[in-house]
């Protein structure tokens, strides 16, 4: 009977959203600590580490994702207000935006088309089903927007969320190396590419490199969310993927 109080405690905690909410924040803080101890190497991406830690905890305790999400939804909910908040960095960059309007529009259209075409094209080539393809198509835009698009077109919003996060982590991990390979020097360009490809996670990474890179990443994330939301539905209907 020695473990009875512990069992009671577990039953109580497992039923309350508090436990998994706290653990989500706790794992993220641990992940940040590891990332900093590792010299902020992009390979130790804090989002990926936190997700790994939480999955390990869920498997070890036999907790279903739904139970986890009942607690973690409070964090997830903040994605909406965070998307609205992007208006502020956008407004702060209005002068640059005006000056670079043409290159930005060109890069934006190129990125939205490249993101959708590469995801759907490669996926279809290697035999992914239509639901998976629709879920892949908006993976370069920020999670709430991508999930909304995926749901509207007949994809699986929760799968899209996973693909969005993976794309974010990959861009954050691979971006700086690729830019070096392409001999890119302009922080505005690098930031814009990171934000357009890897949304919030790419933007978080860009802010670690320089404020200019971060601002342009935020700008690209906001613009590409908007343009993708407008262009992707007709585009997918046009290739006959979405109803």
């Amino acid at each position: 009977m020695a473990d009875a109080p512990l069992a009671t405690l577990w039953v109580y905690l497992a039923a309350s959203p508090l436990l998994w909410l706290s653990l989500t924040l706790g794992c993220y803080l641990i992940a940040l600590r590891i990332y900093r101890l590792g010299g902020e190497s992009p390979l130790l991406n804090p989002v990926a580490l936190a997700i790994g830690l939480l999955i390990a905890l869920l498997i070890l305790t036999g907790t279903p994702y739904q139970t986890y999400f009942d607690g973690a939804q409070f964090v997830h909910f903040l994605l909406g207000p965070a998307t609205v908040s992007l208006a502020i960095p956008l407004y702060r960059q209005r002068e640059r935006l005006r000056r670079l309007a043409l290159p930005i529009v060109a890069a934006l259209l190129a990125s939205v088309l490249a993101a959708a075409a590469s995801a759907v094209g490669l996926g279809a080539l290697l035999g992914a089903g239509p639901e998976t393809l629709i879920s892949l198509a908006p993976k370069s835009v920020t999670a709430p927007v991508a999930m909304g698009i995926s749901e509207k077109l007949g994809g699986l919003p929760s799968l899209t969320a996973v693909l969005v996060v993976s794309t974010g982590i990959l861009g954050a991990v691979l971006g700086t190396g690729l830019f070096r390979l392409l001999r890119l020097r302009d922080d505005a360009v690098k930031g814009f590419a990171l934000g357009a490809t890897s949304h919030g996670i790419g933007t978080a990474r860009a802010f670690q490199v320089s404020p200019v890179m971060g601002a342009f990443a935020g700008l690209a994330m906001a613009l590409s969310a908007f343009v993708t939301a407008l262009l992707l539905p007709p585009l997918l209907r046009w290739i006959g993927l979405a109803g």
Binding site: Y28, P46, V47, I55, I88, P103, A107, V165, G200
Partner: protein
């Protein structure tokens, strides 16, 4: 802080409701962002409290993606069944998008003879 949070939530709410009624293809929070942007332009500046609240939300942006990412558990079977297609779309797709975006913007800048204002050695 409270006023700023209310303003941000109100923008999102109006965005979500407008999408619901008009059937616009844009998700509610994106419309909310445009509303807030229009408000900032109309006002001609960002109030201190709004800036602080927005910066707080955005400074922990990566954390907000964690709950959705853990959802990989639910889709494990589908991902394992189509892993090659999904892995290629993710890794190559990300590299292609990064390169195409950066190179297009560099080419457009060069064509127009201007730099991004963020030159670094």
């Amino acid at each position: 802080m409270l006023e700023a949070l209310t303003l941000i939530l109100a923008c999102q709410l109006i965005g979500e409701v407008s999408v619901l009624f008009t059937g616009l293809p844009v998700p509610g929070p994106v419309l909310g962002m445009l509303l807030l942007l229009a408000w900032l332009f109309a006002r001609g500046g960002v109030p201190e409290s709004v800036a602080r609240t927005a910066d707080t939300l955005l400074s922990h942006l990566s954390l907000l993606f964690v709950p959705a990412g853990v959802g990989v558990l639910v889709h494990w079977e589908r991902i394992r069944g189509q892993w090659a297609a999904i892995a290629a779309a993710l890794v190559l797709g990300t590299l292609v998008t990064l390169a195409v975006t950066a190179l297009t913007m560099t080419a457009a800048n060069r064509l127009l003879g201007r730099s991004g204002g963020g030159e670094r050695g």
